[in-house]
Point group: C2
Chain length 337, copies 2
């Protein structure tokens, strides 16, 4: 069923791509069948996660990164896909609006594909749907996939784990210290970006971030050498070299610093390959994807094997407090059906 | 095993309560056994969720609410538990600091118990651990349980669903419009609070919120009557009366508006009881708790029934792209072991 569609994707048909992305987002059987077909063609794209609080100019930065990936230089242009994971509520229409604003800059370029995704209520949720979309773009031959998430909740962290390189975007004057501490998001940052770096307060923002990085990556273990982390001489073997997240400044509205950002991403990719972390991240990613699919399937199968009214009756007993939730689970699993 | 501990909780021993909360957070077998014992004593507490972006003064507001619930008037004092769900990373120690600041105001009052909870990596995650803590406090006889969450990610929304009444806290000058739209959190708000209402910009914040509420709750369906929502005459039966979230102003630092906030919460509780929504929310809550426990148990059982090396070999094949994730799931479920 998914064979014809998969073939169209592999031969680069844009309409087919749009259709498959919708099917994947909806979890349709044809979407799943196509994913099975396409999986063998994945594993080539570079995945870059971009996260940060609202107001940091994340979307403009992602736009600029895409534009620079499209320039004609050695090693470029690269084909770029953007997945904007936007948990906006349906009534605000945030995702749609975002797409429209973006289209102005990148419209008409067949080497760029932008897709927004709103919240999904299903078991697997956003992270799972995003993983599937990444596979589609990867198989379709996009070199770089930018995954943009809003905020810093658990979902965003899960999605960031999909990426080879994760950027955390801050901006001056947003109460950066609090945002970053509260979100506990620094651990997932491979590169920190202070966007809107032409605004006052940029020094303070960088100072605060540097202080927190010191906590996250104790200085005794590493020292900086022209922006690259090295292990203390003689202390660790090469493959244990730590990556200390660099702090970069950008002004997305005019492109300042975005070239340097792309260079830092490339350095991080080389670091991942040199240390073997590239393969380890890949494996972890596939492992959690398998786990999510397995969980979804086990629960669905179990629910189907079980008469709905018996389930409802158990919930009645929970409401009456005559059975505890754990007792209910034991009750459900007793019958060897 | 959990019987002795459960008995101590029911007889109001504070040290036992602290110990059980730790066990519940860690998912220990004794914790689970105690939860089984205590479940029959739950279902009496009023659960209030409080969420909002960092910088809105949420924690101070929760403190003030607790203080006012402790005053000596008709219907008061009430016993109050606070669960502060804080996804701070371990190295920042945010949760611990928060507790210490709070202790100053509420220290020594045996009718108040404050507990912070940091992120959990387990399958069920924060929402499940919070649900279990709520049960402990409920059984221990706390009348009001305040569940405070930071931010507006999916986790926060899930946790808010635990509550009978959910407050969404905003503050002037935080870029409220963007925050609220992006977060898509307005749908979960039963009451909107503009805290720090002594700051400039409070009018704009309220205006923006009112505009968005209009989108979430179309005016054709309801009209306001002294702050209470009513259905259009003759249009709907009584039990379909809509609740339009009121917008209240508070200054948590001096307690302004907090009495009115408590009154609005009480009105909402009465609304829930009158419409039958109280019972429906209760049922939905227990149902999702059962589902989470069931999922966790099914996956754990499956993984235990399965040789680890066979699982690892499947992941090898995923990495080599010789098998797709869905094919791997089918492979795993084939063997009727």
């Amino acid at each position: 069923m998914g064979k014809a569609l998969a073939k169209s994707i592999l031969s680069g048909e844009r309409m087919a791509l749009a259709r498959l992305l919708t099917q994947v987002e909806n979890g349709s059987p044809e979407g799943r069948a196509s994913l099975d077909e396409l999986f063998a063609y994945t594993g080539k794209a570079q995945l870059i996660g971009v996260t940060g609080a609202p107001g940091t100019g994340k979307s403009s930065l992602v736009n600029q990164m895409a534009l620079q990936y499209r320039r004609s230089e050695a090693g470029y242009p690269k084909r770029v896909a953007i997945i904007a994971v936007d948990p906006s509520s349906p009534f605000t229409g945030g995702a749609v609006l975002g797409d429209r604003v973006r289209m102005r800059d990148l419209a008409g370029d067949p080497g760029v594909f932008i897709r927004s995704m709103a919240s999904r209520g299903s078991l697997g949720g956003l992270a799972q749907a995003t993983a599937a979309m990444v596979q589609v773009f990867d198989a379709a031959g996009f070199d770089v996939i930018l995954i943009e998430t809003v905020g810093a909740g658990q979902t965003e962290v899960d999605i960031a784990r999909l990426a080879h390189t994760t950027l955390v975007v801050e901006a001056p004057g947003l109460g950066d210290e609090i945002q970053a501490i509260k979100a506990g998001i620094l651990e997932i940052a491979d590169i920190l970006v202070i966007n809107k770096a032409d605004l006052p307060g940029v020094e303070n923002a960088e100072y605060a971030l540097r202080g927190m990085l010191g906590l996250a990556h104790p200085v005794e273990k590493v020292f900086h050498h022209h922006g690259q982390a090295m292990s203390m001489p003689g202390s660790e073997p090469v493959n244990a070299v730590l990556w200390v997240p660099p702090i970069l400044r950008t002004v997305a509205t005019d492109g300042t610093g975005v070239g340097e950002l792309l260079a830092a991403i490339e350095r991080h990719a080389q670091h991942l390959r040199a240390t073997g972390d590239w393969g380890r991240r890949e494996r972890t990613r596939l492992e959690s994807e398998l786990e999510a699919l397995l969980t979804e399937t086990l629960v669905t199968q179990f629910r189907l094997s079980f008469p709905a009214d018996r389930y409802e009756k158990l919930i009645d007993r929970l409401v009456q407090r005559s059975l505890s939730p754990w007792e209910a689970v034991r009750e459900l699993l007793k019958k060897p059906k």
